[in-house]
């Protein structure tokens, strides 16, 4: 059975790149996409995907607030933060409960990078 993913990022460019990668390379089913934190919370509640990718810098409601809200309601949610922010933001998200943190820019057409990305995904799933 295919794993499912919901992708949330305010950049259409990023959503398309991630959608293509998860569908075509990873064999996931992309259940929905969103572009802000409010949609992230609503889409998680609606779909309960195996994985959600979440950007941090987004309009209306930022990703870190959405992450905390989703995990308060669904403590087992697997959320992978994908953001250009590093350092303290990364630590805070991991503290809140993100299963993985990937820094932008993604280089999914680079084979080594893709392997690392896949390993990070596997680790996120092995955490339960």
């Amino acid at each position: 059975m295919k794993k499912s993913v919901v992708i949330v990022d305010d950049s259409k460019f990023m959503v398309t790149m991630l959608q293509d990668f998860f569908q075509d390379v990873m064999g996931y089913e992309v259940l929905a996409t969103g572009c802000n934190g409010i949609q992230a919370v609503d889409l998680y509640r609606k779909h309960k995907p195996d994985l959600m990718t979440l950007d941090l810098t987004m309009p209306i409601k930022d990703g870190q607030t959405a992450l905390a809200e989703i995990l308060a309601e669904h403590p087992a949610a697997r959320i992978m933060v994908i953001s250009a922010l590093d350092g303290s933001s990364m630590l805070e998200c991991v503290k809140i409960g993100a299963k993985a943190y990937i820094e932008k820019p993604l280089q999914l057409d680079d084979e080594d990078y893709r392997k690392d990305f896949q390993e990070t995904l596997e680790e996120a799933f092995s955490q339960g």
């Binding site: 305010d10 950049s11 259409k12 460019f13 990023m14 810098t57 987004m58 309009p59 953001s83 250009a84 922010l85 590093d86 350092g87 303290s88 933001s89 820094e103 932008k104 820019p105 280089q107 057409d109």
Partner: protein
């Protein structure tokens, strides 16, 4: 802990992060568009940020500074930047994401945080009316990628005590 600063210190801080800004800006472009970049001349410090026909801006700041990263691309260069993409909205979206990656990378630099303190970027905004931060000073440079030319800059001004009251 960053202390209140005057404009002279702001200039000195900006000059110290100039090289890091160029590295972050070029790296973001090269990694996202998978193409090499070059700069026709060195990035430079400007005592007064120009009023620019801003394409994309990312505002940021903290209690001591108000700042913005900007990325300007002439509409005639859109095709050179993203060959094959014909919809302006998609091109602007990509420019916004490039600016987002530049900002995340630059604001995360140790040299930046040492002088200016932590700042978080806002989502990109687009404007064609011209924009500046008033009395801001600026670092700026031109980057060529493919057949497109972009202007990348970071403007900042210290917030005076009376502005905080």
């Amino acid at each position: 802990m960053v202390s209140p600063v005057n404009e002279e210190l702001t200039e000195s801080y900006l000059r110290e992060v100039l090289a890091d800004f160029e590295v972050c800006a070029r790296r973001a472009l090269e990694r996202m568009l998978r193409a090499p970049t070059r700069c026709p001349r060195d990035f430079r410090y400007l005592a007064e940020a120009p009023t620019i026909p801003l394409t994309c801006g990312i505002r940021t700041g903290n209690g001591l500074f108000e700042a913005a990263l900007f990325l300007e691309v002439d509409r005639r260069d859109y095709a050179g930047l993203l060959p094959g993409v014909k919809i302006d909205g998609e091109i602007l979206d990509t420019i916004g994401e490039i600016a987002n990656v530049m900002a995340g990378s630059f604001l995360g630099q140790r040299s930046f945080k040492k002088h200016f303190g932590p700042m978080l970027p806002t989502p990109p905004v687009f404007s064609f009316q011209g924009s500046s931060l008033g009395k801001a000073s600026c670092i700026q440079g031109v980057i060529v990628i493919g057949s497109a030319k972009l202007s990348a800059g970071f403007m900042v001004h210290s917030i005076q005590r009376d502005e905080l009251i």
